[in-house]
């Protein structure tokens, strides 16, 4: 079953044609990686899935993006509701200046949940899901800033997961982390795929090959190739893809 469908998507920053006629389908509960050189449009495309580009002045979208069959740019779509369903994790961990507990509880409270027992249960569940519970269970009231970079990133993943999204967008989630923290985030991605559909932008080829089921290669605003990750990294069909993943250009 397709979770996300992009239909002939074109996107413009003013006169600049950033995405050119992209159509793709992302299956449910799969991890899809977007790779490509800087400026190729992969992050722009990712940010369309939760309408993060809406506030960019002069930007314009053509085409359709459907999640669960619904056009997320259609009339009547509540962006807040959309973002509750489509969580996002960024390159640098961005915890709120609050306690660990409150970081996770924030999204639930904003959504009107007041039941303390439920919130506490959900915080624990989310932290366990992000493989962080054992490390923080004794200091839930400590500042989130007291955590290491890797822990902060997993906290952000837990925060995104607390409101039970069905899609998680990750924009280079491990690029600022050391190898051990990176491995933990990657393990987490593999576990979370059972619950959510994950789309990840990464510059790390090995990361894309390790964590994703399918990979899309972008170049100069076009999606050059989209296939099973195994195919992309063993026998890509397009020469441009092969040249990029083997480091021959980019």
């Amino acid at each position: 079953m397709e979770k996300i469908e992009a239909k002939d998507v074109n996107f413009y920053y003013g006169d600049f044609h950033a995405l050119k006629g992209i159509s793709m389908e992302i299956p449910q509960n799969k991890v899809v990686a977007f790779i490509g050189p800087s400026g190729c449009g992969k992050s722009t495309f990712l940010r369309l899935f939760n309408r993060m580009n809406d506030l960019v002045p002069g930007s314009r979208l053509e085409g359709q993006i459907l999640i669960d069959g619904q056009d997320i740019y259609g009339p009547g779509v509540q962006v807040d509701e959309l973002r509750k369903n489509v969580g996002m994790v960024f390159q640098r961990p961005n915890p709120f200046p609050k306690s660990i507990f409150d970081n996770i509880a924030y999204g639930l409270r904003v959504n009107g949940i007041k039941d303390k027992e439920f919130i506490a249960h959900r915080v624990e569940e989310s932290l366990k899901g992000a493989a962080l519970w054992d490390e923080v269970k004794d200091k839930l009231n400590a500042s989130a800033y007291a955590l290491s970079g890797g822990q902060q990133q997993r906290l952000c993943i837990a925060r995104a997961m607390a409101v039970s999204p069905s899609v998680l967008l990750m924009d280079e989630p491990a690029s600022a982390l050391d190898p051990i923290s990176t491995a933990k985030v990657e393990e987490l991605i593999c576990e979370l795929r059972n619950e959510v559909t994950i789309v990840i932008v990464t510059h790390n080829m090995q990361q894309a090959s390790r964590v994703s089921d399918r990979t899309a290669f972008f170049y100069m605003g076009e999606m050059v190739e989209y296939d099973d990750t195994k195919v992309i990294f063993t026998n890509p069909h397009k020469e441009a893809t092969q040249n990029y993943i083997t480091g021959r250009f980019g």
């Binding site: 990294f233 063993t234 026998n235």
Partner: protein
């Protein structure tokens, strides 16, 4: 591509080429040694076998380093994997040349009966093996999968000559009981050459895999994709 990675790949290719040339010469010398039952040439082959072994270890080590340091993918990964296997096959072919040389060195007989040699098609057997080696070396260097595939059919000729040699040697030994030892030795030479053909077929498959990502192994010539 980063220049030093390209240069590492070129270096590996050059090492395989050198090993290939060395093993080719070993087999060519083995041919001369057997046909002339020349003990001196045989001894030279045996001494040079150590160089083949050293080359094998060097290429193994370089491939391991390349994979560990550069994490190759796609065509680069296929290339280094193919070189690892080609290296192994070449080393075995080197062993066969060495084995043939040891037969010549240890044989007590003088020259072989020219009529028997002709009937056995021993010279043809060597010629086909050497031609396959030459063509495959060229196919690898020119990255020509069609040439590599065309070599594979020659292995059938080796199988036919080897199969025929068994009956010829049995008949000859029966008629010339003093030649039993030499006939058994020659049987070993044919087995080694036939096995060399099998290794060359493996090499052809690896060349096609590296260039086209097609798997010919265990498919009787039909292509599949290793994905």
């Amino acid at each position: 591509m980063v220049k030093f990675i390209e240069s590492e790949l070129m270096q590996l290719r050059s090492e395989v080429y050198q090993m290939w040339t060395l093993v080719y010469n070993q087999m060519d010398q083995a041919r001369q040694a057997v046909l002339g039952m020349d003990h001196d040439i045989a001894q030279q082959i045996i001494v040079r076998e150590r160089r083949v072994d050293a080359f094998e270890l060097k290429i193994d080590s370089d491939v391991e380093d390349f994979i560990a340091l550069y994490t190759p993918v796609a065509v680069d990964l296929r290339f280094v994997l193919a070189m690892l296997k080609v290296n192994n096959d070449l080393e075995r072919i080197g062993d066969y040349a060495d084995g043939i040389a040891r037969f010549v060195r240890d044989a007590e007989a003088g020259n072989l009966d020219p009529a028997l040699v002709e009937k056995l098609q021993l010279d043809t057997m060597f010629a086909v093996v050497l031609e396959m080696m030459k063509d495959l070396q060229q196919a690898l260097m020119e990255e020509d999968p069609a040439k590599a595939t065309s070599v594979m059919s020659k292995d059938d000729q080796l199988d036919r000559i080897k199969a025929a040699s068994e009956g010829i040697l049995v008949d000859y030994a029966r008629s010339n009981p003093d030649s039993i030892a030499i006939c058994m030795g020659l049987g070993g030479v044919f087995r080694k050459l036939e096995r060399t053909g099998d290794h060359l077929t493996n090499i052809a498959e690896e060349i096609v895999f590296f260039i086209d990502a097609k798997v010919l192994k265990h498919t009787s010539g039909s292509s599949g994709s290793r994905q």
